[in-house]
Symmetry: C2
């Protein structure tokens, strides 16, 4: 067994790595000693659905794991929209990577990988935290035998001017925090004595660009908040003054869903009298207080959330341009059906940053990423035992989305439904899938608190606007 594994990393004998490492680590002997174990080093970039599943399933008796990620937690993305209005609290859907590192053979470095040197078996990292105010994060190398690239993706502005500066993304929990802050801010602004009718209308117009699951779920949660807590806590606002408009560039929102379910979502929004769906609308530009559609129509807004699609992280661009890594659709690393990056020996890619040449239709979803993480861990575990496993096959388990007013869509190959029953299913399934016991304990508590006491509207973080 040992022989087989060593054969795979013959370009970089373990002893040499250890010596290089020891020299590089400087005076801090403790960490140097960690680097100097006999086990093979697996470096994992990122801790989203793919990476986090991989590191949880990997057998740490056979491998030393180093997670390198600027984000020190796993985020349970299906509930992210719920945190934007406080139905669920932010920390309730996060799992710190550090909880895993309390186990043996597991290390975490809060840094971003900026370059990969496969030949010498090391990556270049930049600390995600500055030593003190104004300083840049320090750079350093981390050696590897196997490198797993699961860095995910970034929101894509598609080059529309003003998106970066004026719109909010909804990708990380920090984004949700900023959105929650701004929702309360515009409500407070709308209650200032100096506000005019026109300003009031603008402030309370919430614009969402992109009718995918994220945009739709945010519209649903925001509609719930407006109908319940806003009406109660900001009582003197004119009735029906708050509106949500969901812009979709094509003719159909939730394009991945069954047609009937997607239409059900539109009807549910119509029924709410809060969310207005506008299809076939392309955004030309976004200014501080208005968006302009192709064709010239100008739409004033108080908050704009941009959720239209995904693009590559800087590392991927760098690998493509400087190191000749092959990319699919310019955004994802091409991998074989064992998730190995095309033309590379010890580099793997999975999740949203990978595209499988043999199965180009695998969607960029949490489900696919998690299945790939699970697959790769099984492959590594088998490899350590000297055996092989069958190529990766995506297993479509279906999709769910919440559209507000206790209505969810439930779309599986076996069963399609929408409504209250689907909402119960939505809550039950996600509660089961929430990783840690702590979160399974916290989320139902949050739901109960919201039901009994409403959502919290305190402001205590400084926003980018103030």
């Amino acid at each position: 067994m040992r022989g087989i594994r060593m054969g795979r990393i013959s370009s970089m004998p373990a002893l040499a790595v250890r010596e290089v490492t020891m020299r590089r680590m400087g005076t801090w002997q403790v960490l140097a000693r960690q680097y100097a174990t006999q086990k093979e080093k697996v470096v994992v970039l990122g801790c989203g659905w793919a990476g986090f599943r991989f590191i949880k399933d990997l057998d740490k008796d056979n491998y030393d794991v180093y997670v390198v990620s600027p984000r020190n937690h796993f985020l349970f993305t299906p509930m992210l929209a719920s945190t934007t209005v406080g139905t669920i609290e932010f920390r309730s859907i996060l799992e710190p990577v550090r909880t895993e590192t309390s186990k043996k053979g597991f290390h975490y470095i809060n840094a971003e990988c900026v370059d990969i040197d496969e030949d010498s078996g090391k990556i270049r990292c930049k600390s995600a935290i500055a030593d003190s105010a104004g300083k840049e994060g320090k750079e350093f190398d981390v050696p590897f035998h196997h490198l797993v690239v699961s860095v995910g993706c970034l929101p894509n502005t598609f080059g529309v001017p003003g998106v970066e500066e004026n719109a909010f993304f909804l990708k990380e929990v920090g984004d949700a925090q900023k959105i929650r802050q701004r929702i309360i801010e515009v409500l407070e602004l709308a209650r200032m004595p100096s506000v005019t009718d026109e300003e009031l209308k603008r402030l309370l117009h919430f614009v969402i660009v992109g009718g995918g699951p994220t945009g739709v779920e945010f519209a649903g949660e925001l509609g719930d908040f407006i109908r319940t807590d806003m009406q109660k806590l900001f009582k003197n606002l004119p009735r029906n003054s708050a509106k949500v408009t969901l812009f979709q560039s094509t003719d159909k929102i939730l394009a991945m869903f069954d047609k009937n379910l997607s239409e059900k979502a539109v009807r549910q929004f119509e029924k709410s009298h809060i969310v207005d769906v506008r299809t076939n609308c392309q955004v030309e530009s976004i200014d501080k207080e208005k968006i302009t559609l192709k064709g010239g129509e100008e739409i004033p807004y108080g908050l704009c959330v941009w959720s239209t699609g995904i693009g590559p992280r800087p590392l991927l661009r760098h690998l493509q341009q400087k190191q000749g890594y092959e990319m699919a659709r310019g955004t994802r690393l091409v991998v074989d059906d064992h998730l190995r990056v095309k033309g590379r020996k010890n580099v793997y890619a999975l999740g949203d940053c990978a595209a499988m040449e043999s199965q180009p239709d695998i969607p960029a979803t949490a489900q696919a990423a998690q299945q790939q993480g699970k697959f790769l861990a099984a492959e590594f575990n088998a490899m350590a035992g000297g055996s092989d496993i069958k190529p990766f096959r995506f297993n479509n388990l279906g999709m769910m989305a919440y559209v507000g007013g206790y209505v969810s869509l439930f779309d599986t190959p076996q069963l399609k439904m929408a409504g209250l029953t689907a909402w119960f299913a939505w809550r039950s399934v996600y509660l089961t899938k929430l990783g840690s016991i702590k979160n399974k304990f916290q989320v139902p508590f949050d739901w109960t608190k919201t039901l009994l006491f409403g959502r919290d509207v305190t402001l205590f973080t400084k926003s980018k606007a103030s």
Copy 2:
């Protein structure tokens, strides 16, 4: 009754106020109509212990209340230190002012008062929120019959260079959030492969300047966090590498407490082997990564919290310099024993921003502020009924402080104790005093979660340093 009340505001007939208000409000008729009720308008600046108690107790059948405060929530300060390490979550000790505004006769404006014009019965306000990125908050007037100044105070740097730029205050929940963020950041920095022994020692040195209740409780909570969660989650750090130093300028920490209890706190810290108390140390300056004591000693640190005393808010300085308001010790408005500001007719001051001429020894504590808020509400309610009440008398109920390791100090006129029993008393008393049912529901849940799962160490807000 009506005649008596009108007599008090003869300088500003209600009708004139209404007309002025209607003109000023512009087109937004709804708010204008609120301003135009027949009830007297009480404008309250701030919603801390004094202001929040006052508005809760005031009879809204007799008065229209306008709270003007840049902070849209009440903060339960005795548990603030617990939130810096996540023993309790931030929102668990906050009460949104908006919850009160859902009641009749109650209005809230998220703004800061920048000037008072007593003669024309109005204040100048500046919105605490910008309309959009980069804009200044708008200015507008709010009319009043009675003005209650309960703006509290600011942390005092005593002119020590570098405090504003490099140290963290611990006054608001936003401060606690930044401290929590930075604690995790320095721990992550300490685990970077590039760190040297010297850097490691600096990063894990937590400095607290000021040995009052806030500084001491923060030291206690931080010690708990280091002993439990840090040891578990950042396991490869050298043993005993994290240290806390508490600097006190005089010869005794917790000077307000009984001498035996204050000594007990010092012994408890010694026993912890984490917190080191250094008395008779004055800070000369604070740089990015070190503080310098008077005498020249330089002390490297990873995090510095400054909690030495209180100073006046900009409004108070303005009133003193531009409007000739009399101040006690240069920081607090002088009031009579009915909390009326000296030389003013319709302006009251209470809490940390007021000093009673006849009782100069009332401490700047939550307890005193709350008693004053209660008193003033009773006075206003009596006034509406045409009667008077006796002058304010401070009733000292004692003090409590948590010093870590399940040890609290309990110092009342009747009973003084320290230890586990006092810790139970500390938790019980504060749990009872937590205002809302929501928080009484949430805080024990947080305690349980911390006990079962430890404190959360996720990072998701951008800090000033990164």
